[in-house]
Every structure is written in C-alpha cells, then in structure tokens.
C-alpha cells in the first residue's frame, strides 16, 4: 500500500535544526517544547563511538498509541493523508498520550493546558506540498514521499524498538563507526566515567498527585470492600466521602483542562485510562448510593472496586515495557488485596500476600534495580514488624501505619521505575 512517509537519511543529517525552525515558521511558535526535535546519540562525543542525529516529530503511526489511549478521543486519523490529528478542543490535558507515544511526539503546552503535536502539515499535503520540515531541509536529509512502505520496513526503521507501523523510513549509516582518531591524545580521560543526567519522563517527584490518588483510592476500596463501613456512623461516612472527594479533586486538578473532565470517560472502548476513570466513578457512586440513598448488592460494588484497581494497573502497562518482571510489588491490585486482608482480619491471607510481594520486591532489588539500601530494607522490614505487632490488638493502628508507610515507599519506587519508550533514552543509548 502506498503511504505518506517521512524519509530520514542518517548519512546526510548534520543536526542543523533547520527542520525545527521550518516547523515553527509553518505552525507557529512552540514553547517550551518544539514539535520536532533533533536528537543526537553520543552527546559527550566519546571518541570510540559514532555520533548520529535523528530529526523526529510525529510518525503518524498506523497503530498510533496516542490515538488508541487518549481517554477523550481527541485524536483522529485523516484517512486521505494518513495524518494523526489532535483536536485541541477535545483534549483534556491528561498527558497520557505523552506516555503512550514512543517518539515523544505529543507535547504538553503549559500555557494552554493541552497537548500540541505535529500535524504532518496536513494542510500542505492536501495542497500537494511536502511538510515544511521536509521541504526545507537544506541537505535533503529529511524528506517526505508517498511510497510503498510495509510493516517490516517500518519496524526496521524505527529508532525506538516498537512495532506500531510508524511512517518513518530511515536510511541507515553506510559506515557505522565515527572517524578514526588518535586515541593516544585522549589517554588522560580513558578511566573517567561520564556522569550524564538520567532522563526520565515519569518520576515520583513529578507525579506525586498520582501517587497520593492511587494509594488513597486503593485504601478506600479495600476499606469499603472489607465491610468495615457497615458499622460506620454518619460522621465516619462523611469522612469517607470527604476522602473520595479529595481524591477525585486530585485527579481533576491533574488535568490541563478541568472543565472538560467529563470527556475523560468517552474512550471506554480502547483506553484503560477511560476505563479506570469509569470504574472509579461507578465504584464511588455506588458507595455514595449505599451511604445515603439505597442499598446496592455488595458483590456488585466489590466488583467495581476490583475492576477499578485492575484498570489502574493496566493503564500503567505502557510504562512497564522495559521491565523484565512485569509484575510489581506495588501494583494497586496487590496493595488492595493486602489492605483488604488487613481490614477484614484475614491475617493468613495478609501473611501470604505480603510474603508474595516481599519475594517479588527482594528479587527486583537484587536482580534488576539497585536502589537505596536503607530505604529498601526499611520497606522490607516494615510489613513484617506490622504483622508481628498484630498479635497484640492494642498495636492495631500502629501496625496499620507501618503497613501504609511500606506501601508509600514501594509505590514511590514503582513510579521511579516506570519508564515509557522515549527517543531521548533509546536513541542516545543506541551506541552504548
């Protein structure tokens, strides 16, 4: 099938950034993030390694993850040109597409509170013109053509190892080494380790509202499901409802366009984010109903809760693509079950699930990521102490606090270990 494709020649690009300015001239000023970026591998110029450039915007992928994952259906495809188009009027500014896209194409504009991205210069293609960037590359490294381009070529061309039908054809380097240099000149630096700043789109520090939100709502789900709320007096119920409102507010404040929150559930069909928000709404609506209106079957409410926790885990799947072990000790479903067991008093289940999670935790610490030793041991010891303390019921609250503390540490680590496919990381580490 003939398709509109960007063609990028690694032999020709010298990293001049004309494509970036061409895009700005055509599509308006873009700040702080430009729609098109020029990445370079080997930024510190290590003598033994080649340096290549990559000019990248949106590749208008056949299986565009932005389009699939957008909870508010802000993305659509122009069937005539193949362009994946983002509609600013429909965007809620949740930034989920910035996680989903492996090419870092959607850019969040802080000022407008919504996403912006490359349009393929759809208006130009319609006039039979090349996109501005391809039209104005002074050395012909970036081009645009309507060609036969199959899935295999697409996968092979992709600068990030994903198979999503990206429409970028890469002409690879003829010679995969840098220039021959006299390494003797650089012998004063052979043993120096270059410390480059670790770039990660998702960090616990940036995403703290999400940490609070997921932990808080998981706690509320387990508390409710355990049946403790049956003995709540009206003050308890108000407090419980208050926490629900706080968590809902947290998640809404997280959006760039708060007034469009309603749009976040309209892509139930494809987006786990829509599903998560949907089940969240259902679960807490039914809790509210049970508290203040009429009784719904407990099993139904529990199901909503479980589906909600499951959806949270599923929506983070796009950020766990590099994980060797796909299951994480701080997954919400596991946190949920632990807390449920605690609240309902099924301590054998609690011991079982905590042991299971600790096993995963320790395995991860030893084999995969080596984090701060003190924090990790603390996280490992806290639930054990908590369980021992449970033998004496007067330490119930203290025990709960210790468990909660362990969960917070684990969840923070979870966020810090998330990483989405990112050309900045993938391309720059290509040669290492």
């Amino acid at each position: 099938m003939r398709k509109n494709v960007f063609i990028f020649d690694q032999n020709k690009c010298v990293g001049c950034h004309a494509c970036v300015v061409a895009c700005i001239n055509e599509n308006g000023f873009q700040s702080p993030d430009q729609w098109r970026n020029v990445h370079s591998s080997n930024n510190p110029h290590l003598p033994q390694l080649p340096l290549l450039y990559l000019s990248l915007a949106c590749n208008h992928c056949d299986d565009a993850p932005c389009l699939k994952n957008c909870p508010s259906l802000a993305y659509s495809r122009d069937e005539k040109t193949g362009a994946v188009i983002h509609d600013p009027k429909k965007c809620i500014g949740c930034k989920y597409c910035t996680w989903a896209c492996p090419y870092d194409a959607p850019k969040f504009n802080l000022k407008s509170g919504i996403i912006e991205k490359c349009t393929f210069c759809n208006h130009r293609i319609e006039d039979e013109l090349k996109p501005a960037c391809a039209n104005l590359c002074p050395v012909g490294a970036l081009d645009f053509e309507n060609i036969e381009f199959n899935r295999e070529e697409s996968v092979e061309s992709s600068p990030v190892p994903v198979n999503i039908g990206s429409n970028l054809k890469t002409v690879k380097l003829r010679k995969e080494t840098g220039p021959e240099m006299d390494l003797e000149i650089f012998k004063n630096q052979t043993k120096i380790d270059i410390q480059t700043k670790k770039h990660n789109k998702i960090t616990a520090q940036k995403e703290w509202p999400l940490i609070v939100f997921t932990l808080l709502t998981t706690g509320l789900v387990s508390l409710y499901t355990s049946g403790i709320t049956k003995i709540f007096n009206s003050t308890h119920k108000h407090i419980f409802t208050g926490f629900i409102i706080i968590s809902a507010a947290l998640s809404i404040l997280h959006l760039g366009k708060k007034l469009r929150t309603w749009r976040s559930i309209i892509n139930i069909k494809n987006s786990w984010l829509s599903r998560e928000i949907g089940f969240f709404a259902l679960f807490f609506a039914s809790v509210f109903c049970n508290f203040y209106l009429f009784n719904l079957p407990d099993l139904l409410v529990a199901c909503f809760g479980l589906l909600y926790l499951f959806s949270i885990d599923m929506l983070y799947r796009i950020a766990t693509w590099r994980w060797e072990l796909k299951i994480h000790s701080a997954q919400t479903i596991l946190i949920g079950i632990s807390l449920f067991a605690f609240f309902i008093g099924w301590y054998y289940l609690l011991v079982f699930i905590i042991s299971f999670r600790l096993t995963i935790y320790v395995y991860r610490k030893i084999v995969i990521t080596k984090n701060d030793l003190i924090l990790s041991s603390l996280r490992a010891i806290l639930p054990i102490i908590a369980i021992i303390m449970l033998y004496n019921s007067q330490y119930y609250i203290l025990s709960l606090i210790l468990i909660a503390l362990g969960e917070v540490i684990d969840r923070i680590e979870f966020y810090n270990e998330l990483n989405v496919p990112d050309p900045k990381i993938e391309f720059e580490s290509q040669n290492k």
Partner: protein
Amino acid sequence: MKAHNTACPRNCYSTCSFKVWTDNGKVIKIDPQPLNKATPQGICLKGLSYVERVNSPQRILHPLKKINGEFKQISWEAALSEISEKLQYFKEKYSPQSVLFYYASGMSGLLNSVSTNFWKLYGGATTVYGNLCWPAGLEATRLSLGENKHNIPWDVENAKLILVWGKNPAESNIQQMIPIEKAQQNGAKLVFVDPRRTASAERADLLIQPIPGTDGILALSIAKILIEKNQIDKEFIDKYVLGYDAFKEFVLKININEASIECGVSVEFINKLANFIGTTKPMTLIPGYGMQRYTNGGQTTRCLLALSIITGNIGKPGACWHYADLQSDIFSEIKEPVNYFPPEKPDGIFRREIATARLGEDMLQISDPDLKMAWVERGNPVTQNPDSNKVKEAFRKLEYCVVVDQFLTDTAQEADIVLPAKTMFEQSDIISSYWNPYIQLRQKVIEPIGEVKPETEVYYLLAKKMGFPDSEIDKNIPYPSDEATEKWLNNQLKPWPDITLEKLKKGPILTPVLQEIAFSDYKFNTPSGKIELFSETAHKKWGVNPLPNYEKTIDGNKENKFPFNLMSPNTKNRIHSQFGNLESIKLIDPKPFASINLGDAHAKGIKEGDFIKVFNDRGELTINVKIDASLRPGNIVIVNGYWHEEGSCPNILSKGRETDMGHGTAFHDNMVDYEKPNIK
C-alpha cells in the same frame, strides 16, 4: 500571498538563493529556490529565522536618542538635525577626519558604496584598513596562484579525496555537505584536520587533531613525506610551479619527530594523512578561515596550499584549492584582499591609519586629529573586534556616536543616536558570493516596517540637511525611491548586458566570467606567470620567508602562563553576532557555553553544567560548561558572536593583532586559563 526570489546577504559562504512569501506587506514564509545549484534544497536555520527577525518586536523601528542613559524614541527630523549639527561642528572644529566611519560585513550589497560617497562629500573621514575575517588566506592564495578562485561548489562531487582542513561546513557552509555526501556515496575518502570533532567530521574516514596554530608544520611534514615517497606530480611541477627545488630542499630538512611533537600529531597519524594525500587523486583541499586568524595565518595557508601544488591538484575536475571564489565579484575594481590594504599614497580624504585588527587601541591612540565621533553601520565592533574591553573604552571616549542597526546590539548600546536599519527585504540590492558563482538580486519585497529608512535614504536626507550641493548629491546618492534605486542598480549592471534586473528577479545568474574548473587554463596571475611556491613578493611586501614556512604563534608559545588555546569558531546558530537574540534561535541554543575536554575538566574538578571563569591578562568572563570528550585536551571553545549582554563575549579575551600578511586579524592566537570560580 506572493512569492519573491531573493538571496541571503549575510557574511557566509553559502549566499543562499531562496523564495520569500509575503502577505499584506508582511514576510510570512520561506521556500527553497532550486535554481541555485549550490543551494538547491534551501536555506539554513538562520535564514528560516528571517520570518521572525524581520517581524521581531525587538527590532528598532524608530530613531532613538540616549537621554540620561536610556533610549527614547525621537523623530527623524530631530535625529537628522542633531546629527547634521554635530557633523558640521566636528568638521569645522577639528576636521572631517575626526569622524570615524566604521562598517563591517553585516549586510552585503552594491548600494553600500553610497555610504562612502556620502563621507566623501562630507570631506572625508577616518576609516579602517584590514579585515576581521580572511585576508591572510586570501593574500597567501593570491601570492601563490595569482588570484582567489576555486572550482564550482558542486565539483567537490568529483573528488576522490576531500581534505577539509580547519573548516566545519556543517555549521558554516551547510550546503557544502551535499557534494561531500555525494562524493562519499561514490566512494570518495573524507579526511578532516581540526582540534575539534565537529558535526562535519562525523562521517569522515580520518580526523587529525593538531594543536591550534601548528597546521603549518603538519603540512610541511606531509610535504616532506610526499616528496620522499615520490608521491608528487613532477610533470605539473615542472610546467607550472616556481621554486619547487628550493621548497624541496627546505622541507627535506624537517625532522618529522620534532614536527610531530610541535603539532601534537603522532608520526603514525602524520603518515596516515600523507598516505591519503599521496595515493588518492583527485584531491579537493578545503581550508577554513579559522586557522589563518593566527599571527602565522598567511604562511600556514601557504604551507597547506603547497600540498595541493606539489601533488598537482589544481585546475582539474575534483582537484581544487577551495579557499575562496571571487569570480562572482564582477563589480569591484580592486578585489579583496588588496582593497583592504592601506593606500600607498593617501588621498587626503580618507585617513586609513587604523587597523580593524587593533580597533580599540588604534582609536585611542590616533591623533591629529583625535577621534571625536563615530558612525557605525552594518557592524557590531564592540562585540566582534578583538580586545573588546578596549574597543568599548574607545567608543566611550568619543564625544558622539551614531549607530545604524536593526537591534540594540552591544555597539548600539554605546551610541548617542541609534538609527533603525532596513532588513534585506526592505530595499533591493545586488549581491555576489565568495563560494557560489552566482550574481543575485536581493529583492525589496515589503515596505520598510515602522519608520525604518534604508541607509541610502538616510544619507540622502542628511546630505540635503547639511546643504551639500544638489548636483553632487544627485551624482552620488540615489533619490529615495524604488525607481531611483533600480536605476542606480541597472547602472552598475551596464558593463554586463546579459545581466539585467528583470532577469535577476527570476532567479540567480551565473557570473559571466565563470571558469567552472578554476585555473583549468593554467594561467596564473603572478609576477612569474607560474604558481609561486617561492614568492619574492611575499618576502618584500610582508617580510615573511619567500617559501611557505612555519613560525610559532605569538600567544601559543609554551612559556605562556595561560595554558589553554581559546578557539572561537562559528556556530550554525549565528552569523557572528547576528541571530542569537531571536526567540527561534534561543529555543535551540538557549545560553552561552564553553566546551572543554573531559580529561581537562576532570583534572580541574569541573562537571557538565558548572560555571567556570575563563581569563587571561586581557579580561575574564564567566560561562557554563559542556564536556566534550573528543575535543583535543588543552583547548577551550567559545563560539564567536555571544554579546557582552549575554556575559560571554570571547573577544574580551582576544588580543588586537594583525596576521603575518593581508592585514587580517589574528584573534585566534589567544591563550587563556579557566577555573571554577570561588563561590561567594
């Protein structure tokens, strides 16, 4: 919406043709102009940023007067009256030569000569001799080959060996990468000589990294190896070269081991480079302008050129000394570099006793009369001339200063009156190039924005105001109208009936005197009619060795207490001090930085992103650090063009000195030290 053909008048090799789109009197878009075979795919990022530049809110759109240290908008009438009074006053009280008329390379075009006409009518002025850029290499080439020309840019495709020596075309001449890539596709070898590992060198086969300023001895060592291995073109030498025997005798005395230590390139790598040159033909040698901005720059250039000469790589397809091509400059009676030289017999009108290389020092020292006023256009000397603290001091000592510019540059900040300058889109003019062989029209496509007036109009009005005779004004300054400008330009085209403004409006025109393969007729305009490896003129005129030889640079001697070479090359993001102030450029290049070697940084405890103090006897600056693991140790790189306002103008550290020939500027001969500043 309408598209117009135009061409970029910046001081840059490429001189790109391009199309500019306007809508309702506004520049809105830029497109490539494929008719120019040297720049067929379009202009660089700076050219694209014209869309912002011409419409920039920072642009000066009205005359400004400094009142209590702040610029206030005034009317043209007020500005011209004041300037006219000052000019009369300085002329009567001291003499016209108390006024410095300074211009640089900010905007090229034939109409620039109108400025000189005005100052002639005024009775003269003080002007500078020499040039900041390339004269040492031009003079070296002129002495050897008779004139400065090279093969058409796209002939590089035909080379089997491309030796780029001290040039970074990916940043300074991006379209040259097109024929280089094509040649590589056809199997050509690509070799770079540069202490830096530049973007251009990434696809090279070999990168040789000498100590800055020692290129001459490296080239001579290679010449020796070539001669010893008999990898020279004997037939070519016998027919066309003067002084080969003397040269041979001279270079055979070179001790390669000593030379290797001097230039910092191992004997192994000297041999590698020699082997490429000795065994691969045809070779195009592309020298840059950076290494001729040393005190030994002219002789260095002659040493490099000797490699092209003894291997017979001149006058054939793919074989070329690719320094500068002045074939499209059909309008100058005296071409560069000779027109830079101070006149042997002063005309009494223009006093040319100030070297642009020593601008600050000479401005302060010149007397009888002292300088009282300066008029600056197309230039930003406070940033771009060496030893800029001294330049600033000299400007501050003046009684009065007028600067014509588009933006409030460091120099404009020193002015009493700033007049708004046109952009390339606001007045038509004809430009040539020193790299591509086209004559081009830089078309007027919009009316000047705000109250902007082209310089010719400013001079016209000022001449009227000063009461110069109407007949003289009419002869020397075009009347301020589009028709009069076009008539004036047509007049310049008279000797070339094949070139008309109408034709130029349709696109670039190849220069009528073009020799596609330079020197293919083997005619050399030297005293002997041969290529002069031995140049009596070089010795007589400049006092240098008649043979290409290596002299140590002045600053670069090993006893210097400042151990690091400061390199100040050009960046793709600026043309000297232009463009860096634009938002679209700042997105890409947000803040000044210095590149230093990884090992050097480690030894001084400096990390990426740290601030360092760079200093020598001439000044100091503070700047952010980038670590470069492929920059030769002992070097620090701060690109040229950062403004004082940005805090990192590298000319704070450079010394005002002339090159060994051509009255060039040796500001790359510049040693510094750097350290982590004490935290206050």
